[in-house]
Amino acid sequence: MDVGILFSIFVLGLVLGIPVAITLGLSSLGYILVAGLPPVVMPQKMYAGMDVFVLLSIPGFILAGNLMNQGGITNRIIRFANALVGWIRGGLGLTNIAASMLFGGITGTAVADAASLGGVLIPGMKKAGYPGDFSAAVTAASSTVGPIIPPSVPMIIVGALSGISVGKMFLAGAIPGILMGLAMMVTAYVISVRRGFPHQPWQGFGEVARAFGGAIWAIAMTFLIIYGLLSGLATPTETAVVASVYAFIVGAFIYRELPLRAVPGIVTNSAVSAAGILALVGFANVFGWILVAERIPQAIADGVLSITDNRFLVILLINLLLLFVGMFMETIAALIILFVPLLSLAEAVGIDPLHFATFAVLNLMIGLTTPPVGVCLFVCANIARLPLSPVVRAIMPFLLTNILVLLAVSYFPPLATWLPSLLIP
């Protein structure tokens, strides 16, 4: 069975710790050799996978995030979030979540969010008397709203795979992302009351106003991105590049914390990060092509439909599958392999592609914080200098919260589809 080779090498490669991109390449090559296909199909399909128009926006959004990050934005966002919610019990936990939501409007990947906010907030929370496990858990859990609130690298990849409008997907993520953030704040508050976490005194509206003044340029960036996409001035790629220029101007000339000599290095680092993601997309395109050639998407759809064509059950099955896969697999690889097969299933039972894309991405973002493989979980435990198991225990309530939001978005489509239908009539 040729497909057996494909999947066995894939799983083995992941267990051995071979980079996901290379694992996808090795398993595809294994299949190609066993099936007797010409290996030239690999470079050909890699090229085809990377030469896709919407992918052009990925480096731009990564650069914009990095420029903002190094241009003095992190501290301003934290200060503003703290002025807003720091006075509530467990205030720094809430600040952490609020900052993630604000930061989410700038970064398109969760790991960037976890690393930059976690680097400041986890040590800060520990110093203020919060336990390390809670500090790491709340940072990891809330970092996942980053790619749900626009902009979003996973949604750009979905656009490249399926042709669903990236602009619409960005808007579809806005309400679920905010909802998820608010729900986590409630959870953090309940935990804080129970465990008796500290809070700070209310600093007055003056501080709120001053902090807002400091963070306004960062907050404005989210609106710039959404405005760019809606107003008809720019495509996602153009928006991403304009956002980078904006981030450069804010960092270098308004905040004056971005030294000009650091810019070439930031541009190059962003190029390398983007190249890594896109090379992964290239290798994954070969893998995806094999799945289509073997008619696996059709088989999955037929298999599920032979059990049930009840939309309620199909949504449940899709969520269970994605949650399970998300536990073990990296987001982008999971999207490339599973999105198209599951989309044909979703469409067969009448689920709106835009709605499906939203809850699929939400689902895989939750996967970034689930054991055993959860990149954001690792990053935060590492910053907190803790082993994984206490952080996993501490993140459980947040995980449950996020799964509840996921179910709400899955079974109440307007949460995803209302805003895009309102703004892009």
Partner: protein, 299 residues
């Protein structure tokens, strides 16, 4: 010997090209007593157009449906998309199946290493917009999308519009949010891409009448016995006749559908458009096809 030909194309399952591809497979299978079968992959599921052509050159794909994109290899294929080269579908048929068509096909075999075995007529390209446009003067800087074909950009600029190339996948949203105000495509595509949701008028410019080839990789072709080559040719010609029937009913159907969706069809001053376009066409077509185009314009 047993053989399965992989045929990939970009149209959906309802499209006449897809149905004709399936028909080709059935006919070929019948002619060869099931020795040769054709597996059809619609919706770009086997790859996009250029990728499929590359695949045929590398021996990873056997067949596809392709047209003016071939000019990236064979300059004469640019004749498949020359604005105002043909007034009617009969003119186009006469050319495509005549010596002119043979010349193009020969160059495709030579330069692309793929072999046209049938051709399908395409609906004429029309301009959609949100206001009626009857003369070139009405264009007046209209921001419109054209495919990545430099000739189209030149011609629409000369007519007075502000054309820009854009990936097809971006067109719908860009029309919706106003990045562009207009686009041009055959009725079938205006329908299947739901442009009627974001555009109110179809201006019957009929500016490009063209055709598209059903092709087989030369490498695959050369593997066939003479008898099988004949079977492929015969099956292809039946698929071509079948597609033409479907095409003619679909033209009327598409117009009725779009009118039902509220689109207004506008008759345009064809002579004015043609006159304004001619010089731009002649100035911008490649040297290899220029004499042929001059000849076509003279008729």
């Amino acid at each position: 010997q047993e053989m399965t030909l992989k045929l990939g194309h970009l149209a959906n399952e309802d499209n006449s090209w897809h149905k004709a591809s399936v028909k080709f497979g059935e006919e070929l299978s019948a002619f060869t007593d099931g020795r040769i079968t054709v597996e059809v992959f619609p919706n770009e599921s086997l790859g996009k157009e250029i990728d499929l052509i590359n695949g045929m050159q590398l021996g990873t794909v056997d067949m596809t449906i392709t047209g003016e994109s071939l000019q990236n290899w064979a300059p004469k294929a640019a004749l498949l998309a020359v604005p105002y080269a043909f007034q009617t579908i009969e003119d186009m048929d006469a050319f495509a199946s005549g010596p002119g068509g043979d010349e193009i096909e020969a160059q495709i075999v030579e330069k692309v290493q793929i072999r046209p075995i049938a051709y399908f007529a395409r609906g004429a390209r029309d301009l959609t917009s949100n206001r009626p446009i009857t003369t070139p003067a009405d264009l007046n800087g209209l921001k419109m999308r054209v495919p990545n074909v430099p000739l189209f950009v030149d011609v629409w600029s000369a007519l007075g519009a502000n054309p820009g190339p854009m990936a097809f996948s971006e067109v719908f949203t860009s029309l919706q949010n106003g990045t562009i105000e207009a686009q041009e495509n055959p009725l079938a595509l205006i329908r299947s891409a739901s442009f009627y949701e974001v555009q109110s008028h179809v201006n019957l410019t009929d500016h490009v009448r063209s055709w598209i080839y059903l092709t087989i990789a030369d490498a695959t072709w050369n593997k066939l016995s003479d008898e099988d080559k004949e079977a492929v040719t015969e099956a292809a010609s039946r698929a071509q006749a079948y597609e033409r029937e479907l095409f003619e009913t679909s033209l009327a159907e598409d117009r009725a559908f779009l009118e039902e969706q509220g689109m207004t069809f506008v008759e345009v001053d064809a002579a004015a458009f043609q006159a304004a376009a001619k010089d731009a066409v002649l100035a911008n077509v490649n040297d290899e096809i220029k004499p042929i185009v001059e000849d076509l314009f003279a008729q």
